[in-house]
Amino acid sequence: MSLTLASPGRKLGSIILWTAVTALGVVALFTLATARGESVNAMWLVTAALCVYFLAYRFYSLFIADRALGLDPERKTPAHRRNDGLDYVPTDKYVLFGHHFAAIAGAGPLIGPVLAAQMGYLPGTLWLLTGVVFAGAVQDFVVLFISTRRDGRSLGDLIKTELGQTAGLVAMVGILTIMVILLAVLALIVVKALADSPWGFFTVFATLPIAVLMGVYGRYVRPGRIFEMSAIGFVLLIGSIALGRTVAETPALAALFSFKGETLAFMLIGYGFVASVLPVWFLLAPRDYLSTFLKIGTIASLALGIFIVMPELKMPAISRFVDGTGPVFAGSVFPFLFITLACGAISGFHALVSSGTTPKMIGDETQIRFIGYGAMLMESFVAIMALVAASVLEPGVYFAMNSAPAVIGATADSAAQTISAWGFAVTPEALTQAAAEVGEKTVLSRSGGAPTLAVGMAKILSGAIGGASMTAFWYHFAILFEALFILTTVDAGTRVARFMIQDLVGTFWPRFKHTRAWAPNLAATALAVSGWGWFLYQGVIDPLGGINTLWPLFGIANQMLAAIALTLCTVVLFRMKRERYAFVVAAPAAWLYICTVTAGLEKIFHPDAKIGFLAHASRYSAAAAEGRLLAPAKTAAEMSRIVFNDYVNTTLCAVFLALVLSMLVFGLKAIGEARRATTVTTRETSDELHDLRIARA
């Protein structure tokens, strides 16, 4: 791929091509940035993003591959060295790209950008693009490289060997906490989307019997026929969306499938428990197949829809809420935009995937660039599309959907009045009309991002296929697909959390490690479920909508994990004696430390009760001392519970801060050691034949 191999003619062609891409990207970004007052076509945003991705891939990722890491096509990968035909298999790079992309792209890149749209589309776009190019894709790339050079070992293991036992244990606790918060916030998104929505609840509920049917088919009727079972599942799924309309329009049935948030929370908690202890072929695996294929299909059709419809962006480039007073999430651009928008820019979670199955299937080291860096660029593009979907809505509708009832009231009149006063003109009729179009009673305060994205997607997709009459169908299709893959993450994640708990407790009490014994199995599952269930329930009853509190916590946790992963990367580069290039990973690591520590401190100590947990707690305890009740508390007991929750959240934030700062210390210590050492001290799996060849040459 190196330029020196190209003939002069091709070199000139290449220069012309890349100059053109740069020029196009600059024009697109300029158009986006200078738009004031008039709406801009979404294609400018898409074009700007694609140009940035191509340039970054062609130049920056090549620099990392050749200079910083020194990828070596001659060196044997674990897929060859340990080939077992099962886990370790040299795999075609395009096939592996698909595998890796499906593992890293979930609901995250679809939700964060929707929330970030409250500041206008520009701040989110700029962070998504710079974040992915210099941080997110670099992290995925380098972690995949490090793991591939070490037999495909996991992140926790890698930290243990390169940074020491204690650091490994700290990282393990960190990963587990992140899992718990992640599962809680994802479950909360589902609850918000399905509460009082018989159509939505019915279709999501229908996936349970459909999955069981698929499972039985794939195990007993036609074993292993994945595509047959998925096709059956898909047809039934579409049927259930159509049937859902009848359910919603029949009052007796609608009542049967309408649930309040609290009830849904308990149902989800029960579901998470049952799904993760049942045999996997019965429910978990078939749902996983359905949701994976649906996810890829939906992402592809959203891309197609945007290219066909070429919608206008209704959201302003920069809204007044950059000042931090926005209703969707509290806090100013720095640090909270960088916390809210994790997936798509940088997501620490990917470090777990990049040190999972993918490194065991890399056939040639040089492919790590395409798979690690390339797949993350693709996820960032998914996030850009989500930002487009949120920005094609009328801003008035967007804010009505994403503001808590405590802010905009419970009626279309009060909502329209409040939001119009913010400067986003909207009428009550427009809000009821928006709900009617998608076949729902109301769209007010459907926070969490998923419903907003669904309305945006419905608008785009119905513009491509079916017209206005299909809007309600597309809306529920989008809700179903998001709920489906969120629930798949919730049940699979509960299982992962269960194994982590067994592993962690097992370090001190070995009997707990037996994953096949029922008692530890059930105990660990119960622990995992009650962990995320507790935060889920607090989120559901939170007057500010829950997402307001939980999403920043999740963002901090996710970015903190990224900081940990990038610290590992930096240490490894120092150990390889390639510290000249360590800035590639050290710079994004430093940025993440600054963001997470600032955000963590602000979440605890900020004097504004909307942001700081302690300020919120003291407001409520002061009121309670005077015997006053503050909404939404209706009793003195509820008042003290709110205060208690604030202290729990404070503790959690403090734990995050302690984790991330101790990793910083471990990292700096390891870097110091590596600098003092005179030779390479990294602990790669050696490839002796390869070393011999190099020594001879």
């Binding site: 099962l86 795999t91 197949y289 992962v496």
Partner: protein, 75 residues
Amino acid sequence: MSCTICGLPALDLAKLGSKLRAGARLMIGQGDYDAYVAHRGADHPDEPLMTREAFFLERQASRFGEGGRRAMRCC
């Protein structure tokens, strides 16, 4: 085979189809059965071979099994 005008390789639909299939299967943790058979045949010819169905069930169980981390996915 490549195109005589543009020099790009001609689109091989059969190959593309099989890659798409393999990609879709690997997304859900189902590896390539033929690669497994080829590997076992080359390296362990005397050991028993799993049938296609057994291979499917083994891969399914291992994706969510011990550690469960093979099914790890992002948010």
